[in-house]
Symmetry: D2
Subunit: 349 residues, 4 copies
């Protein structure tokens, strides 16, 4: 039996990638694509990759409750505070919702307001939502009606560091995450800073000390550590389309832990997790090896000279960092095999 | 029932892509990977994308006849004149062979010798081989034991121009193909000219007037036209990983044919061909819209001002231009659905 | 003695490049930078490369006549039909003008209207202007008050083909120019199609059969041939910042001309031209070898098999194709050494 | 009066860049180019950018003493332990030497041996050499006969952190440098890992915990701090040609120092240093803004939330990180204006 899904915010990169993944998912049919800017236009006018593959036109999805009667899962790939505004109890009664925006990620609405510069539109729903980092929250995701799909940087960062905190291995005030992302993370917006000539052949940090994903990472890691964590998170822009690499640093509590021991701790922590690949000795995380897939590669090392742990981890930001994880969440919520539609091996080069 | 396949030349880009595609093919199991340079090394040492996905090590495949007893299809992704040298009647008795090298593409061994600077190692087998351009030669491919998988440029060029010749629309001495390829076409060889800094931020033509794919294109188009064709083919190198765009020019015989009529002729010629997308008016072929897929996009236009036909066509050189078409050939030869394992929609960005 | 110059349209890529070149020109001082969108903002807010190098803020240049009293040369790097609108006889009395837009390139205002979709604002001035392709029009440029700086594609295309027409070597109806440009040619406009993720890892043709530079190329070549020429010009977009490569095809009239003879004809035609490098046998034009310089590299070959001439030529589109040639024109008009400020060797990689 | 220079190791990227810079230096003439692999070949066969610009062929420089009689300055752009092997007292009598390799950077030959896996060939000369980080060591460089040109990462890292240590602002055991470099840093060697398709569209860390530039950075910073410093240095590879961005972290000793105060400390420390641009509030270091120039841009911030200092700094690795600084050293040693030949503004895009 197939389920039907609707997608809001169809004109963006994450929706485009979600569509691509779902077209290969044997148990899912895309019922409709909502886009305010593309109403009645064939989807291949936005994304010519789907020419003759997906003969849908975008629709006006403002009558959401009525549209949701006919679908099992709603994906929101919309700007922040949009999903929180339009979701109603009626929608959630008829439909499971996976929100790829930031609306339901942060528990604390004041933190939300401080970072997204707007008042949260729906604190009631927020209280019912579940943070959809599949490997860490599977049990809560399974019965959830509303899942907040994690941010791209948080997915990579949290999975990089979770085993350290779960095993009490590091000084909590010593965490530094130096993250680098491909440009698709900036979305499909006609912004000067995202022009080819501005990004190509350059490298920069941005949102130094103030990126919105910082509180999301701190919230998840604090929950694992059962203590509040404050950390440094610095994102950078890489002249490539896809991929995130996060390089994380922390001070080791127990100097007897070496790289081999650390790798075993990681392999143990992620035992049975298909999408987490803890790399063997000598290998390092590189974005090319996960591109086009839902994998996260993690390479944990101890630097005995400085008594620091150095972790590199890589994901495809549009897949494990967005649409792939959304499908993984759907699979968990709908009782499908968790890797359904996500079996594709990474594509290189 | 699944078939088993072996792959020779596993360390190259085309083998890597073939492996990726075959891992998603429900009816195929990869039995072994042969590589002279990587004997006994895990395949993920060559291609870390397959870490924990494909736990095979490369083997020494010099005992080919014995190795081929256990497989149904052999793919050769080897340098030219290697496959022609090692293939034996016994191999072909037990196994269907799809050769991704140039060994069995050219009917004329003198042309082969002139362009590949070596004497053809096996003219007898050459006589039994079939040129595997699926859309044009399906009937001969079906019963074949030995299929020559077409070159990347020829696939894109021949499919671009075939309808013109089949319909006698152009002056035969007027064909110019100006083709552009991503850098994966150069293979995984440690050559100075293929270094990142030599290719990136540059654009060049190469093998001007003398590229090896010229006779292959001429041979196929001459067969369709039933007259010998001599044409200009100029390849260029694009600073990107994947993709070929061919821009073809020819003088129109009948000035009454306009772009709309021409498009209809193309749509008609490729009717029912799933992998050929003749683009609607206003659209143009772009490599990004076929990347990661087995599609070829073709946009035919008439320039009434100059009385020329201008065709742009795009493929993913590693898929429709190599490993995807090899799988398509396998599907035809083995009686599978022709699109098995090749259903992936193009991946953008 | 130094001259003073003003620049209109300072926020664009060509103005930015002009500023960079002029900062290295010993005989020029930049008096002011006009930009409607950046009035009173430090220029390094637009182009941080000039931080602490050029402490100018942009000005409102609407009082142009008064502003031009204090300068010797005015560069207009403005959108089309802007320069034609604002220029007055008074401005031209006090100031020499080099227009980098399309306003004064086409002799025929109907052709202008057809391609730029607007009525030419100043046919009177058009009649007094000179087409500033330095190597071909030096004598007229020298005394000119108003010079139309050629388009990027036309510079590369016209210099590629001029020797053929001057020597009556080809069939006039056989010219095809297949041109490829880096993305800076699209300008600094926040357009969806110019986003990094839309351009990167892709290759496309655009404006097929209808690009605005076609009549400019035809006009210049027709003048040399002393016969009207109609040709095919197809531009393509390359995922790189800078550079144009034009591959040109034409049918040879005299089959006795071979590549060596052709190269001599080119070397002869461009004898003494410092910025034109006719490449030796075996070399081909590549954009990397001219990047950052005012050179054009030209590699002419005869394909005896098809009786065609194949020329590749490369320029840096922002230098010889725009701001460098503008400075070259200024040097000619002001009596400076023609290479003043343009001596920089190409920068690789 | 012009000086004459010789260059060893002419076939590499740093030599190529050195040649480009020196061609624009009014007081320098390139006397000869030594290259073992290119003996008697025109230099434009290696670097076609110099076609018709530099009509030199490479020479066999094994008779170094005799060759050095005719030059004032010798640049060694050779692999490590080459310069240390060939230099003789006689060479140093007649010629000033600037070594761009690692041979004379590390004071301690055991550290050298540990990181370069070879015994230092000339400890005597090492004792006479000066570390050529111009802004910090100008006085010693001026009279030196043998200058060790700093590594690319060290130049960027040391200048990023020097003011902090000189002002005793941070905990010495808290320094983490997360550095990112364009691919030209890997040199012009036909290595698989440097192929376009391996680097493009990917991002990775390398030499985690063990990069050779670590002891060079520690040595320089320890000298400033007057205490031994151990730090974490992690280099990453960026899919672009040129540029280094270093993101440095350290724990602030005095929480009363805010970003404004910090910036003043930096501006003060680098007062009068033309090539160091301490960026204004709100600006961040980006490699595109220094490309093609000898500048280093530094943006120091305090993160009050974590009590950390975060510095981003960018250079062109081939210029300030190699050949530009070599020319700056030459200018200091020869009494030229320090910016001679290095005045070019950064080239964007």
């Amino acid at each position: 039996m197939m389920i039907k899904v609707g997608i809001l915010g169809a004109s963006g990169y994450t929706a485009n990638e979600l569509v691509r993944i779902l077209l290969g998912h044997k148990e899912v049919e895309i019922a409709w694509l909502g886009s305010q800017s593309q109403i009645d236009k064939p989807y291949h006018h936005s994304y010519q990759n789907f020419f003759q593959i997906l003969p849908l036109s975008c629709i006006d999805a403002s009558e959401l409750e009525s549209l949701c009667k006919h679908i099992d899962v709603l994906f929101c790939a919309t700007p922040h505070n949009f999903c929180a505004t339009i979701l109603t109890p009626k929608v959630l009664e008829s439909t499971k919702v996976i929100d790829l925006s930031a609306d339901f990620r942060l528990r604390d609405i004041e933190t939300f307001a401080a970072h997204y510069h707007t008042t949260h539109a729906n604190p009631t729903l927020l209280a019912q939502s579940v943070y959809g980092l599949c490997e860490l929250n599977r049990a809560q995701i399974k019965p959830a009606r509303l899942v907040a799909n994690p941010g791209c940087y948080p997915t990579c960062s949290i999975l990089s560091l979770a085993p350290l905190l779960a095993n009490n291995l590091i000084d909590l005030d010593s965490i530094i995450i130096d993250a680098k992302s491909g440009t698709s993370g900036a979305g499909r917006k006609a912004a000067l800073d995202s022009l080819f000539c501005e990004v190509n052949e350059s490298f920069k940090a941005y949102s130094i000390t103030s990126h919105r994903h910082t509180p999301e990472i701190e919230q998840a890691l604090s929950e694992i550590a059962k203590e509040p964590i404050t950390l440094s998170f610095t994102p950078h822009l890489v002249p490539m389309n896809r991929g995130i690499l996060a390089t994380s640093y922390a001070r080791l509590r127990d100097p007897k832990v070496d790289s081999t021991a650390l790798r075993h701790i990681y392999k143990d922590f992620y035992k049975g997790e298909y999408f987490v690949r803890v790399l063997d000795h000598g290998l390092s995380a590189q974005t090319r090896w996960v591109k086009g897939s839902n994998f996260i590669d993690i390479a944990p090392y101890v630097d005995t000279r400085t008594n620091r742990i150095i972790i590199t981890a890589s994901i495809d930001n549009l897949i494990k960092g967005a649409s792939g994880q959304a499908v993984q969440n759907m699979n968990i919520m709908c009782g499908f095999r968790e890797s359904s539609g996500l079996e594709a091996a990474p594509m290189f080069p």
